[in-house]
Amino acid sequence: MTRRGENPEAEDTRILERIRGLARPPAEPSFREQLRRDFVSGNFGQRPRAIVAAPRRPARFLAWATGLSAAASIAIVLAVLNQPPRWTALPSGGSGHLVVNGLSIPVRDTAELTRRMRPGSRIRLESTEELDLISSGLLAMQLSPGTEMVLPPPPGRWFARGPRGNVTGGLLRVTTGRRFHGARLAITTPDATVHVTGTTLAVIAEPTGTCVCVLEGTAHVAPHQGAMTRVTPGSSCVVARGGQKSKRGEMRDAERPRLVDLRDRMQAVMN
């Protein structure tokens, strides 16, 4: 016996000989004559029920529709499960307002603040004290009075893990949580973009430029028209307004205790 693979052409020839050797199936003469009469007269008898009921093209359509709806359901479930914890405002001791998309909300009304703060919201802190925001387990941010920014979305659980935020002016301190691992937050200022991949740092957007102070971990700072700089723990990086280069140095003394405090408090709350 010849096995296919050893000599496929010979095998095909033998198969074709068998197939071609089949005699033409004969029809019953009575059936043929009856059908001939029907065809010539145009008067056909009762049609077979199975043929009349045969579907036109539902099988493929149903398969596609089922597949698409299943895929859509899976996508919806994944999108829901991927949702990160939303931003939550922690109680603040100061007095004043947080302006969220032009709407002024007292900083002591944490429930309303939490309800109003959506990713992409433009916020400005007009208060006497800092305001802490957390996304449980992922990220904590501290806004200093006078800070104006566009709120970034917290990173998703499996995808959409590269959120972007924007600090127009002021001081923003950030510390990342345990579940931030693998994500990448980009914070843009008028002078540079700061890439955060697991760290505690401060982003200070001043009229003269942007200063990034890193307490622990590393951050990458890229001037809008220059090369990216790696900022190590305990150091800072300054990008002058309109500058193409960054200048490295020691982190600001005033920032160290504030960042340590933020990290310790937020790690206790988040993780």
Binding site: M1, T2, R4, E11, D12, R14, I15, L16, R18, I19, R20, G21, L22, A23, R24, P25, P26, A27, E28, F31, R32, L35, R36, D38, F39, V40, S41, G42, F44, G45, R47, P48, R49, A50, I51, A53, A54, P55, R56, P58, A59
Partner: protein
């Protein structure tokens, strides 16, 4: 003469038929048209459906559709591909019907019509004819076990003598896909008929 050559010869003769008469549904023209195409249609649907009863039902449906659509027949073109396409579409609709699928599962091995596809044995050499008949039954069974798209390509190519382009036109696929299906069908048939090569 092989089946496919026979079919081709028949199709070629169509040009001398009175197709204008068929368009006008004149009885004589319809009778000639029927005689010209019946064996081809019956053979095709029998090979595609693998069962005499279904083949008869499908053949009846094909000629009903041909009669209804006779006025659309182009007298300047060979009606062979048109007839084949209608026959194939009737079979395809049947494949999708629940009744046909159910019957495929319920066919009894005692059904004398099931899958034999053979001409009644010639009594001159009963033993040899019996063996030949059994082998033909095995081949028809193997064709019937192919998945419908593969079966259609084999039947259209081997029993209708169609090119890959013509098969693609009838089955609504591409010539490349038709060629691949044909190759896959031969591989499947090789496995199914492995034990009959001795």
């Amino acid at each position: 003469m092989t089946n496919s050559l026979h079919d081709r010869t028949q199709a070629g003769v169509s040009s001398v038929l009175d197709l204008e008469g068929v368009r006008r549904r004149e009885p004589e023209a319809l009778a000639a048209f029927f005689d010209q195409h019946f064996d081809r249609v019956y053979g095709l649907v029998y090979r595609l459906l693998g069962d005499r009863h279904w083949a008869e039902d499908a053949t009846q449906e094909v000629f009903l559709k041909l009669h209804r659509a006779a006025h659309t027949l182009d007298p300047d073109r060979d009606p062979g591909p048109w007839v084949t396409t209608i026959a194939y579409n009737v079979c395809r609709d049947l494949w999708r019907s629940g009744a046909y699928r159910l019957s495929r599962h319920a066919i009894s091995i005692d059904d004398p019509d099931h899958g034999d596809g053979a001409i009644p044995p010639n009594l001159k050499d009963p033993e040899r004819e019996l063996i030949a008949s059994e082998r033909e039954g095995l081949v028809q069974d193997a064709i019937g076990k192919l998945k419908e798209p593969l079966r259609a390509v084999v039947v259209l190519r081997e029993y209708q003598g169609f090119s890959y382009e013509e098969i693609a036109s009838v089955t609504g696929t591409s010539p490349v896909a038709a060629r691949k299906r044909y190759s896959r069908a031969l591989t499947e048939l090789g496995k199914l008929l492995e034990n009959t090569f001795e």
